[in-house]
Symmetry: C2
Subunit: 226 residues, 2 copies
């Protein structure tokens, strides 16, 4: 819901705090299960407890923190079950998105998608681009598809579901082979969308998510992270 990423000086502190905390959680600086203590956060960020609390309410609604009654907030632990729940929903909505994108993408949307893909490809080729950059670029590519659906609610929900999986996406981006296969998959998607071949596009996106699902589950098994 909150999407004005441009930090301007009139942004309420709660927004700044929200963005800061979210980033910390997704980057893994705040670990699952870790308590978010208001006073120490307030001191650390140099604000009072009020904006901290309001930011926590927003994070709670996004599912990144959970409230323990009378114990305050802690970073949500994501279970394998929850991850697969999210992936199940994502698969359905990514399919919807690519279908609608095939119908509705304008030439301008398509051009943006091509540019995003080029940027991603460049980062993959560059040996010392960092994972955060790569993740951002991948997000940017998929965002161009979401934008192409012209469905704001769909865009919002997909963005939110993606957030839930940030840590794991980073994980599978570590694999060089995975990265180059992503490039191939992106290109296939572009081609399908350009020729308005909905079936083909759905096939591509389904494959990509299955791919992700396997990689993520494997990575979880490996680290036995629950």
């Amino acid at each position: 819901m909150v999407n004005t990423n441009e930090i301007n000086e009139f942004m309420p502190l709660r927004e700044v705090v929200f963005l800061t905390l979210r980033k910390s959680i997704l980057r893994g600086e705040l670990l699952p299960g870790e308590r978010l203590m208001e006073i120490s956060l307030a001191n650390k960020l140099g604000v009072s407890r009020t904006p901290i609390r309001e930011a926590i309410r927003m994070l709670e609604h996004e599912g990144l923190v959970v409230m323990k009654p009378r114990r305050g907030a802690q970073v949500a632990k994501i279970t394998v079950q929850e991850l697969n729940d999210v992936l199940e929903v994502r698969k359905s909505l990514e399919t919807l998105a690519i279908l609608k994108a095939c119908e509705r993408m304008t030439e301008e949307n398509i051009a943006a998608m091509r540019r995003a893909e080029k940027a991603f490809e460049a980062l993959v080729a560059d040996k010392d681009s960092d994972l955060t950059e790569l993740a951002e670029a991948d997000v940017a590519f998929h965002d161009t598809i979401y934008q192409g659906t012209k469905n704001r609610r769909l865009i919002q929900i997909l963005a939110n579901l993606r957030e839930q999986m940030y840590r794991f996406r980073i994980e599978y981006l570590k694999d060089a082979e995975m990265r180059s296969s992503l490039v191939t998959e992106h290109k296939a998607i572009i081609e399908a969308v350009c020729s308005r071949d909905a079936d083909k596009a759905v096939e591509c996106i389904t494959e990509q998510i299955d791919h992700q699902q396997r990689a993520i589950n494997a990575s979880i098994e490996a680290t036995s992270e629950v």
Copy 2:
């Protein structure tokens, strides 16, 4: 995200305020565009501004209120476009839900679904049952399906999308013919799920949503509500 509907005395005030305000918005007591002024709400509900503000953060994230910079919150105006966006997503996720329900519903889940249908049918038969009751019963029926998916995230998102349309669901429940056709549709769904006939079930649910979509759009055209 917030789903503990049982109001117990240890529920934080922000939850109580959140539920109260949400109900007011969905029931139409707070009209779209109306400002939510913290002090007057605080006085009206007999609490301080703090829990009011936290509840507003939650409503904001749920999309029921929008923040105007330095002007506070106002009830979100829902446009025809947004409504159709929601319906598009809902159709996709209701389809996923019924598919998974066909796979995963236990005998107990099915029994609950039958009970919910019976209750709804009884209310439709009863001439002086009110709309709120009917809406609740319809919600309860569909909830049994959602529960059958065993996918908590899906359950949560569908519940949220449904909230967005509360006002309009009430609208089409006013039509007696609509109500009896709902009963028929519910029965068809039950039959399909019981025989684990996924295709049939998807067909039923798709039809029901198309039905809803037409009714809602008609009702909007009629009242020229934008």
